[in-house]
């Protein structure tokens, strides 16, 4: 477990995280304005990569092409991909989501799933089930040496491009009229419409921007891995969605933060031994115990109205958390009299269970400290993160309180 090893993992984690972020931004923006999980977004990403790769194959670029021409072809592929993919995103919204906007959200989600199946199978019918190979001639192959770690030039390009695009997006959302319209639409669509904002146009614009970002992501992935398959987008879309939820869906900065965390978690999770991972659980346990013993009882006690806040009552609430499950379970088994006492008893038991699980995993990992997760479990890590975040903090790291939506 050398420093170089960790640094290498971090760099590749950041690279993957940046790509997740490009996709996650599309999810989170659409969720912001429509409260809809755009399930077809992962497929939009794949289509973007396919279009770019096809354009490059069509131009016939190879190792003998001069550098200027290579850059020209590269730009051409990028532009073609962005334009066509944005059109696709706009069309998906027009065909599959707009007619359903007034209906229950479950139907819109079903329509999105149907759209995703259609796109995936269209890709197979047009391009065949085998992966499309990116022409290697346009992929930069240099290395940079930092602290004895070789970093691929492409990784640097991916990270820098993504940062630039995110800056651009932040400017669009914060600094332009359209961005203002987007923010207004996401807060309250009807009110925005009454203020003269063309919400339909704004929503279309959101889809176009999201799809453009996804298509660039698809292009970068195709260059990074050298190939792209029709179902790549399903997994990437799911992980990017996880990242968006992790950061707090609807929040643009949250999407970036969540993506970076997820990318790092995936690479560290399978790159280091269990003995190292166990420390994460130890930190989690410390945080959990802090919440259980100090923070949660304090918050509960502050909910008690002044006139009822007697020392005995406060002590009862506190001891439920601090001595859980002894006192809490006793409360739950006894006759039900006081709502606050019961709610906090249940809360305390839940926190306790979470802490026990964390402690269990910490011990388990320390006992098998020399082992390491095989990389075939990498996907499970992100799904487990998704399930954990939705169960314990559905609003995400930077999210506002969205309890009523969940």
């Amino acid at each position: 477990m050398t420093f170089e090893h960790i640094l290498g993992l971090t760099i590749s984690g950041l690279t993957v995280g940046m790509i997740y972020a490009l996709i996650a931004l599309g999810y989170t923006m659409v969720y912001g304005v429509l409260q809809l999980i755009n399930f077809a977004h992962g497929e939009v990403f794949t289509v973007g990569g396919y279009i770019a790769a096809t354009t490059l194959i069509y131009t016939g670029v190879d190792a003998t092409t001069p550098l200027a021409a290579k850059i020209g072809y590269f730009a051409l592929a990028l532009i073609v991909s962005i334009v066509l993919t944005s059109f696709l995103g706009w069309m998906i919204e027009r065909v599959a989501y707009r007619p359903l906007r007034k209906q229950s959200r479950i139907t819109a989600l079903l329509s999105a799933i149907g759209m995703s199946i259609v796109l995936q199978n269209l890709l197979v019918i047009i391009f065949g089930p085998e992966p499309i190979i990116m022409p290697t001639a346009v992929v930069p192959t240099g290395f940079i040496e930092v602290f004895g770690v070789r970093i691929r030039l492409l990784q640097v390009i991916i990270i820098v491009t993504s940062l630039v695009l995110m800056g651009l997006l932040a400017w669009i959302v914060k600094g332009t009229r359209m961005g203002k319209a987007m923010r207004a639409t996401s807060q309250d669509m009807e009110a925005a419409e009454m203020m003269g904002i063309e919400t339909n146009l704004t929503i279309s614009f959101t889809f176009i921007v999201g799809s453009a970002l996804a298509s660039i992501g698809g292009f970068l992935v195709a260059m990074y891995y050298g190939s792209l398959q029709y179902d790549t987008g399903f997994l990437y879309g799911l992980k990017a969605f996880t990242a968006a939820v992790l950061g707090g869906i609807g929040n643009i900065y949250g999407a970036v933060v969540g993506s970076l965390i997820l990318g790092l978690a995936e690479n560290w999770g399978v790159g280091v031994t269990l003995g190292v991972l166990a420390w994460l659980f130890v930190f989690g346990l410390i945080a959990g115990l802090y919440v259980q013993i100090l923070r949660a009882p304090g918050e509960r006690v502050s909910h008690i109205a002044e006139e009822f806040r007697t020392p005995e009552y406060e002590r009862l609430i506190r001891s439920q958390y601090q001595l859980a499950p002894v006192v809490a379970v006793k409360t739950l088994l006894s006759e039900r009299t006081d709502a606050l006492v019961h709610v906090s008893a249940r809360h305390a038991v839940r926190l306790m269970a979470g802490n026990i699980v964390l402690g269990f995993f910490a011990v388990l990992f320390f006992m098998n400290g020399e082992m390491q997760f095989a990389s075939k479990w990498q996907h499970v890590i992100s799904f487990a993160v998704l399930m954990a975040i939705l169960m314990f903090r559905p609003s995400g790291i930077l999210g506002d309180n969205i309890q009523e939506k969940v």
């Binding site: 079903l110 329509s111 799933i113 759209m115 199946i117 939820v245 996907h379 499970v380």
Partner: protein, 379 residues
């Protein structure tokens, strides 16, 4: 669409048992037709697969249609059932357990599985629940794929023994058809009874308005958990019989697409209606095959050898892809143009067509009645 409505009301005029009797009679003579060479074995195999889907659709209808929870990891329970059979009745681990024990165990295991997954996730609603269940379904598949000491990974488990029901060794497609038919009848009968019981109405109340039903004394978590547990039991049963029938399983049978197909069946048939789920499963599972036969066999036979050669080769080569494409288009078109499904449940239709004139007339009548009642009270 008006045509569909008219057909619907036309069909409703005859008593319901006539249709049930007709469907049952058709299902009962179906394997006999195959035996006497009237239809090919292909159709019998298709019919058997359709019955597996019918079981799954009826089971999922409990969660998606009755309770309104979009569950996208349903195939995971199916996988648990199938792997239970495969592990306990094949040379892979060297067990050869009794059929009934395995069926009971498969249902029990998938119900336990459903319970432990439902307990933490059912606090979520709507899209979030959908995504969590999807993630959980994928985790299950990846686990079965990677856990090589038991499941043999992507290689799968071959050579599953034929089931033995008190001396009746079921090993022909026709016999499996009858076995599955019996399972379908029992499950539909049970679920239909549960649906019209107290808990069934609690589920419908939860689907319509969770907060209001909570305040009327329905315990949301318990009721949802019961729905999920029961429906995962049905999926476990379907999986167990499916593994017996297939004699070989591997993780590719349990892709996310399978969950989506079952969801499509429930949506197409009409959420919250058991006949709808059955019809949805039958239509969606047989139509692609009918289309393929039509273009590659019947039409060329009738018209002449070279009928639309391009379509023929395309259908022969990428048939599965076109099937999925049709599924995807069917969902999109269905939710846009007829969100209540082919054989809708009345409540659900009202949910998706808030501006339906029929219902408005109803509501006006109710309002009128209420006003009259109030006037009477005052007077």
């Amino acid at each position: 669409m008006a045509v569909l409505d008219r057909m619907n009301s036309m069909f409703r005029r005859a008593p319901r048992w006539t249709y049930i009797a007709l469907a049952l009679a058709f299902a009962l003579i179906f394997p006999v037709l195959e035996q006497y060479g009237v239809i090919e074995t292909l159709w019998l195999r298709l019919g058997t697969r359709t019955l597996v889907y019918v079981l799954l659709a009826v089971g999922l209808n409990l969660v998606l249609g009755e309770t309104g929870l979009l569950h996208l990891g349903y195939v995971a329970f199916f996988a648990v059932g199938a792997y239970t059979t495969a592990s306990l009745s094949s040379p892979r681990l060297g067990y050869h357990w009794n059929f009934w024990v395995i069926i009971a165990l498969a249902m029990l295991l998938s119900m336990l599985f459903g319970f432990f997954i439902g307990l933490p996730t059912l606090r979520l609603r709507g899209d979030y629940l959908a995504i969590v269940t999807l993630a959980f379904g994928e985790i299950t598949r990846i686990t079965f794929n990677n856990w090589e000491s038991v499941t043999n990974g992507p290689g799968g488990i071959p050579g599953i023994y034929a089931p033995n029901l008190f001396g009746w060794v079921v090993d022909k497609p026709g016999e499996f058809f009858y076995l599955l038919l019996a399972a379908v009848i029992v499950v539909v009968w049970l679920l239909n009874n549960i649906k019209t019981s107290r808990i069934g109405r609690a589920w419908n109340a939860l689907r319509e308005d969770e907060i209001a039903s909570h305040h009327s004394g329905v315990r949301p978590l318990q009721a949802k958990l019961l729905a999920v547990v029961l429906s995962s039991g049905v999926a476990g049963l379907a999986g167990a019989i499916f593994a017996y029938y297939q004699q070989f399983i591997n993780p590719t049978y349990f892709l996310f697409m399978q969950s989506t197909i079952v969801v499509c069946m429930v949506v197409l048939g009409g959420m919250g209606s058991i006949p709808g789920a059955v019809i949805g499963a039958v239509v969606l599972d047989t139509t692609p095959e009918l289309i393929r036969q039509l273009f590659t066999k019947w039409l060329p036979d009738a018209v002449g050898a070279d009928f639309l050669p391009g379509v023929q080769t395309a259908l022969q080569q990428d048939f599965d892809r076109y099937r999925m494409l049709i599924f995807g288009l069917a969902i999109v078109l269905m939710v846009i143009f007829r969100p209540e499904g082919l054989l809708p449940n009345k409540l659900w239709r009202r949910e998706v067509h808030e501006d339906d004139p029929r219902d408005q007339a109803n509501t006006r009548q109710h309002m009128f009645d209420a006003e009259k009642g109030a006037q009477d009270l005052e007077a």
